[in-house]
Subunit: 143 residues, 2 copies
């Protein structure tokens, strides 16, 4: 492997998954949530643990299956869960905070997925309404 790597520490997990999901942050990391309720949206970085194997991590090109008409595409040009690092990224709406537990809407992680990080969504820097994307990506699921 070129270039080395790093160690990710899981800070929580997806306790239940659905239209609304519950994220549990482990007690030792819970102080990191101070003030999170001031944001309406968060980035959730999670570990796609079902894809953490050599076969999926060596996948570099896929035909995005849920996007009709999509061509063969590099994993850095789509949101394939098979990729060198099984890190998923979703913008979620924060519905509520109860101690170390967050209720969120829009998370596409599975139940049991480890949480890698939460970052507040800042519309000034993170919202690009006019961003261009290829025609195939405009159908099917948003990510």
């Amino acid at each position: 492997m070129v270039g080395g790597g790093g160690e990710v520490r899981f800070v929580g997990e997806v306790e239940s998954a659905g239209e609304t999901s519950t994220i549990l942050i482990y007690p030792e990391f819970c102080p990191g949530l101070l003030g999170v309720g001031g944001f309406s949206h968060l980035f959730v970085l999670y570990w796609m643990h079902m894809r953490d194997d050599e076969g999926h991590r060596r996948t570099l090109q896929v035909t995005p299956p849920r996007h009709e008409g999509a061509p063969l595409t590099g994993v850095f040009a789509c949101r394939s869960p098979s990729r060198p690092n099984p890190i998923g990224l979703t913008v979620v709406e924060l519905m509520g905070v109860d101690g170390c537990s967050l209720r969120v809407r829009g998370l596409d992680a599975l139940e049991g997925s480890p949480i890698v990080d939460l970052k507040p969504y800042s519309p000034r820097g993170d919202s690009i309404p006019d961003a261009r994307s290829p025609e195939w990506s405009e159908h099917g699921p948003p990510t």
Copy 2:
């Protein structure tokens, strides 16, 4: 440590940093770039290697230094580079692709920062112009 962890593989590095930055993807991962030029914006996930030590990784609350009036804030409620996992996330504008090299605008990584992942920015799912954020976060840098 509760909950275990995972192994991140570096797929490239920031070759030069500035108003526009150059990202080099290592040759073995370069096929993952197929089709990336169809997107105007990308998420860059990078490893904040200067913060990859116990002191910074055990930091759970900070007073965001570049945001006047910011209160003590959990690292999951701000974009502090000191956090349990030193993963930075920035939306960049893709200016050009040349082989395994990307020219981007808006990256706040340092020269030499390892690249963890690139994901295409999809305005349908990733742009939330009306997201709410606390007053302190609306001054200073966007992230």
